[in-house]
C-alpha cells in the first residue's frame, strides 16, 4: 500500500491511517448515523402520539403495533422529504392514511352490520363499569366507529390531539370553514350517540 492518498485519521472512528476511499464509507456511515439519530428522535418524541392517532382514527388495538411500524417505516423511506420541524405533521398524515386503510379492512371484515349501540350496551353490567378504563375505550371505539370518517378525523384531532382548526385544515388539505362545520356536526353526533348509550345502559340496569 503506498502512502499516496493517505491522510491521518485523527478523531475518525477507525484508528490508524485512512486511505481516501475509506473516507467515502465513513461519510456514508456518518450519514447513516445522522439518519438513525433523526429517526430515533422521531420515534421517541411521537410514538405515543402516532399510536393514539392510529387508534382513535380506526386502527384496531391488535394492529396498533403493525401500523405504528408501518407509519415510521414510511417516514424512514421518505426521510429526505420530511422537512426539519415538520416531522409531527408528516407522521400524522401518514398515520391517518394508514388508519383509513385499517378502517376499510375492518369494514370489509364486518359481516353483519348490526345496531352497534345496542351491541355495545349489551356488554354493560352496571353503570359503575362505565368509568372502567378498558370499557370506556371499547365504548369510545363503538361510538367513533359509527361516525362518518370525515367527521371522526376532525373530531379526533380537535378533541383528543387538541389541534387548532387551522392546523387541522392544513393537515387534511381542506378549508378551515369545512373543519369548523365538520367539527360542529361531529360533536352533535358524538353527544347524541353517548346519550343513546347512557339511555340504553340505564334501561338495561332498570329492567
Amino acid at each position: 500500500m503506498t502512502s499516496a492518498g493517505t491522510i491521518s485519521a485523527g478523531a475518525w472512528p477507525r484508528p490508524g491511517v485512512l486511505r481516501v476511499p475509506e473516507l467515502t464509507s465513513i461519510v456514508a456511515w456518518m450519514r447513516r448515523k445522522e439518519r438513525e439519530t433523526r429517526l430515533r428522535k422521531m420515534v421517541d418524541d411521537y410514538v405515543d402520539f402516532v399510536a393514539r392517532v392510529l387508534r382513535n382514527a380506526g386502527t384496531p388495538a391488535a394492529e396498533i403495533d403493525d401500523d405504528l411500524q408501518r407509519t415510521f417505516i414510511v417516514a424512514s423511506n421518505r426521510l429526505e422529504d420530511v422537512r426539519a420541524g415538520a416531522e409531527k405533521s408528516f407522521l400524522l398524515q401518514t398515520a391517518l392514511h394508514i388508519a383509513a386503510h385499517a378502517r376499510r379492512t375492518v369494514a370489509r371484515r364486518r359481516e353483519v352490520p348490526g345496531d352497534q349501540a345496542l351491541d355495545i350496551a349489551d356488554a354493560f353490567a352496571s353503570p359503575e363499569q362505565l368509568t372502567d378504563q378498558k370499557r370506556s375505550r371499547q365504548l369510545l371505539d363503538g361510538v367513533l366507529e359509527q361516525m362518518s370518517s370525515d367527521l371522526r378525523i376532525v373530531f379526533v384531532l380537535y378533541e383528543f390531539e387538541e389541534m387548532h382548526m387551522t392546523e387541522i385544515a392544513g393537515v387534511l388539505g381542506i378549508p378551515r370553514g369545512t373543519v369548523a362545520s365538520r367539527l360542529r356536526r361531529a360533536r352533535l353526533d358524538f353527544r347524541a350517540r353517548v346519550r343513546a348509550l347512557t339511555r340504553v345502559s340505564a334501561a338495561k340496569v332498570g329492567s
Binding site: 477507525r14 464509507s25 456511515w29 399510536a51 411500524q69 423511506n77 362505565l130 378533541e159 367539527l183 347512557t198
Partner: protein, 261 residues
Amino acid sequence: MTEPRRLFDEAESELERSLLEAGTDYRSPIGARQRTLEALGITASAYGSIRIRRPSLLANVGGVKAVLAATALAAAAVPAGYYAFEKEEARISVPSPPAAAAASNTAASKAPAAAVKQRVSSDLEGASLDPAETQAPPEPAAPKEPSFEKAPKPAPGATPRAQDKPVESKPARAGLAAELGALEAARAALGRRDATRALALLDAHARDFPRGRLKQEAEVMRIDALAESGQRAAARQRAQAFLGRSPNSVLAGRVRRYLGD
C-alpha cells in the same frame, strides 16, 4: 378566530367524560417503541442489548459468553458501530477467527473492543443474534452474493491468507461513492413516489454496478418501487427470493414485514 372549548371541559355526563378521557389517554403498547426502532433497523439502546433468537441454542452458547458478548458490544461503542456499518453496507465478510486474531494483533492497542467483539462473535457462532439489535451482525458473508471482502490490516510480518487479500482495487473502492450516489437518486425518486423513475435508476444501477456492494439495498428499494408502482406480484416474488437468498440480512426484517402486509 375563536375556537370552541374542548368537549371534555364541558362534558355533560360522567360517561361522556370517561369516553373523551379514553381517547386522550391512549398510549402506545408496552414495548412498541422498541419494536418500532427494531423495525427501522435501529438498536433500541445505543450499542447494548443482545437477544438470542433461538433459545434452544442458548445452551451451546453459555451464560458467561453471552454476558461477555453484551459487555464487549457495549464497550465497542463507536468503532464497533462503524465496523458493523462497514460489514452491513459493503457485505464485508467477518474474518474467520485466525484472521480476526491477526487483525486484533494490529488493532489491539487502538481498538481492543472490536477485537474482543469479533472473538466473541465467533464464540457465538451458531446462535442467531439479532443483527438489528447488535449492530454487529456476526453472520458470515452470504456465499452466493457477490461480496466485497474487506481489505484486512495484516499484522506486520504476518502472511495474509489468500482469501484475505484485498480483492478490490482502488478504483472499485472509489466506486462506492458513485454507487451510493446512484442509489440515493433512486431513493429520492421513491421519496417523491416516482416509482417509474426509481425503477429506471435502479435498472441503471444494476447495469453500472453489476458487482455492486449495495445490491441488497438496491433490491429492497426495487421491492418498494415495484409495490409503489402497483406491481405487487413482482414485488412479492422478489421479496420472497430476497429472503431465500439472504435470510440473515439486516434488511430481511423489513422485507418480511412487507410480505406480512
